[in-house]
Amino acid sequence: MLVHIETIFRNLNGWGLPVIMLLVGIIEFAYGLYENHWTKNEKVLDIVCFVVPKIVVRPFVAYVGLLLFPHLLPDAKNAFAWVPFWWGFAIIAVADDLTQYWYHRLHHQLPWLWRFHRTHHSAPYMGMAMASRQNIIYTIFFSQIYLTTTLVYLGLGYPVLFVTGVKALITTGAHSSIKWDKPFYTIKWLKPVGWVMERLISTPATHHAHHADTSDDGVGYYKGNFGNMFFIWDLIFGTGIITRQYPSGYGIKHYKQEEWYAQFMWPIFKSKKEGSELAANGPMVGDALPPEAPAVVAGS
């Protein structure tokens, strides 16, 4: 049994997840869930962001890391292989996801970091197409790939395999335009499960709220809900709002359909769109409030 589960997760972390994303993406597209928002510019950006990290960035980091570690830390190889599986699972789940919570939160709360994460929020739709959509700098400094490579070298590769698999399923599920969590809020006997689920992990409802283009509808909460796999970080730090509804619109209000290469490669390539955050002389944050107005802080 365990062998079968292991095989599933090995395949999931290899070719499985991209295939699942492609299949779900096709279903979303077929059902018209991207409406008329998936323009040529958005398509190119989504596809480039889906492919490049998988075939260039992650393999490169893993290769260089596993090449460097034996020289830098020759005695540390498999040093923690004795850690029991479930403890390894818990340690890695917390270390990985809390680190990503912070990486994500700081990109929203520190204005100078926002433009590295903006690409993920510029999509005016939710779904598999935009789940991998990130600026290349955000992807390169993404903590998870370095943490995973290090832990594999230290002998925790086995729990890493399962944590990354479970996490990938939860985070891609939270981005899906298929509102699979709805039955947990409407079917009576599933409601207790839903209550626990929406507090423990990211769901389409809570994560869609994070991708909302406004908070005026009483659902959107783009200044919070930073959790990726676990939602509990948002509850602990007061940056989360639990909702069972879905926002009226997605993306960013000041989106100017910037060129895909500018969104992918900023600040290496800049946008030619006047007034864009990604333009050479563009504002750091497009919807920044005037200095005299009090800033709304996430979690307040």
Partner: protein, 51 residues
Amino acid sequence: MKTPVVTQKRILRDAVISIFIYALPVVLMLLSFKISGQRPWKDKPATTIHK
């Protein structure tokens, strides 16, 4: 554009709390070893290629 002071303070406060959260599973694991008397690092030596 500057980060509001209140946000800076919250970031600092939450970062300190995070240190304890990071340590929690490690501490709980060591506590469980202490209670159960297990010494897995002795019982199950690391599989290493350095033979």
